[in-house]
């Protein structure tokens, strides 16, 4: 395959990924987590069966890597307030209890594995720091919600 043909295939794979898969995901943070989940923890290689069947494994890897970085840069560029909205949306679509979700993310820091490889180290530091802050903001809001609820509320007892 010529160099130009390879480029066209990679571009098509990227467009397909963005148009058909990522556009169906409601927020950028969820998109980041989704794309990161297609990456093998041990090798750092991206895999996507559907895309690979259409465009080949190599073009798929390139497309996923590019999309991963693009979404990461978008999230890094967000003001903290908007990142909090992203996180709120992500908590909502995860269908987990907010209190449990926030606690798990603060303890386990799973968002660390969502960072793409080969990106600027200060950007990574900034992103991780902003997520920690956004979690703290959500926790604060959650505390306010709980304070307003009556103590006998079954929802509060269940942590929801």
């Amino acid at each position: 395959m010529s160099h130009l043909a390879k480029l066209i295939t990679m571009n098509n794979a990227y467009d397909d990924l963005v148009r058909r898969t990522l556009s169906g995901i409601p927020c950028d943070l969820a998109r980041l987590i989704y794309v990161a989940s297609t990456r093998d923890y041990n090798s750092g290689m991206y895999h996507h069966e559907g895309l690979a069947a259409r465009y080949g494994a190599e073009s798929t890897r390139v497309a996923l890597r590019a999309a991963h970085k693009d979404i990461f840069y978008k999230l890094v560029a967000l003001p903290l307030e908007e990142l909090v909205v992203e996180l709120e949306t992500y908590v909502r679509i995860s269908r987990e209890a907010p209190t449990g979700f926030i606690h798990a993310w603060q303890e386990l820091e799973p968002y660390r594995v969502a960072v793409p490889m080969e990106v600027d180290s200060t950007m990574v530091l900034f992103f991780l720091s902003n997520i920690r802050l956004a979690l703290e903001v959500l926790q604060l809001r959650q505390q306010h919600v709980q304070e307003r609820q009556p103590t006998s509320s079954p929802q509060r007892l269940l942590g929801r």
Partner: protein, 188 residues
Amino acid sequence: MGGSPVTLTSILILTSMIVVALLLWVRHDNEMEESSSRGSTGSKWKGVPDSAPRAEFVSRIFSREDREFVVLLGSPRLLRMYGKERSAVAVDWARRTSRDVSRIMRRHRLSSRHSRNLDVATETKLLLQYLRLRFICGLLVLLIRSFGPYALSDLAAYTSELYQGIGRMLPEGSLTDRLAAADDTKTY
């Protein structure tokens, strides 16, 4: 006004001492930083092309908007956390910019040894810009630790411009290329 020459001399001596102390501190700071990165073998982002981040990203680190948002939430704990987190990122950026430009200049010095047509005026200007940038980076670290990053957005933007300016003054290649080349010449 009989005492003013003495006062002026004292001020000059004091300023010079502060400048020298700051330069020595920046140097020491960078040496500590380099030796710690030499010692750490488990860094996740080792081998990444470590070019200083783009100007728009710098404005995000030093943003006042985020601080205003945090202040409005009215939680002293969150505000403290925000100050600590953002200062750490800002200090990292200032240190990295200083370290990156040192690497670039080291590389430039090595390649200049083989050059036959060095322009003394350009080299002098380059050296002065380099010293200015190193000084400002040191000053930034000091100010970030003292006052937090949000009041320093203009100085940070100026630092970023100065850094890019050094890249433009160098004979050829982008800053990233130069950093990649400088990486090859590292002794560790």
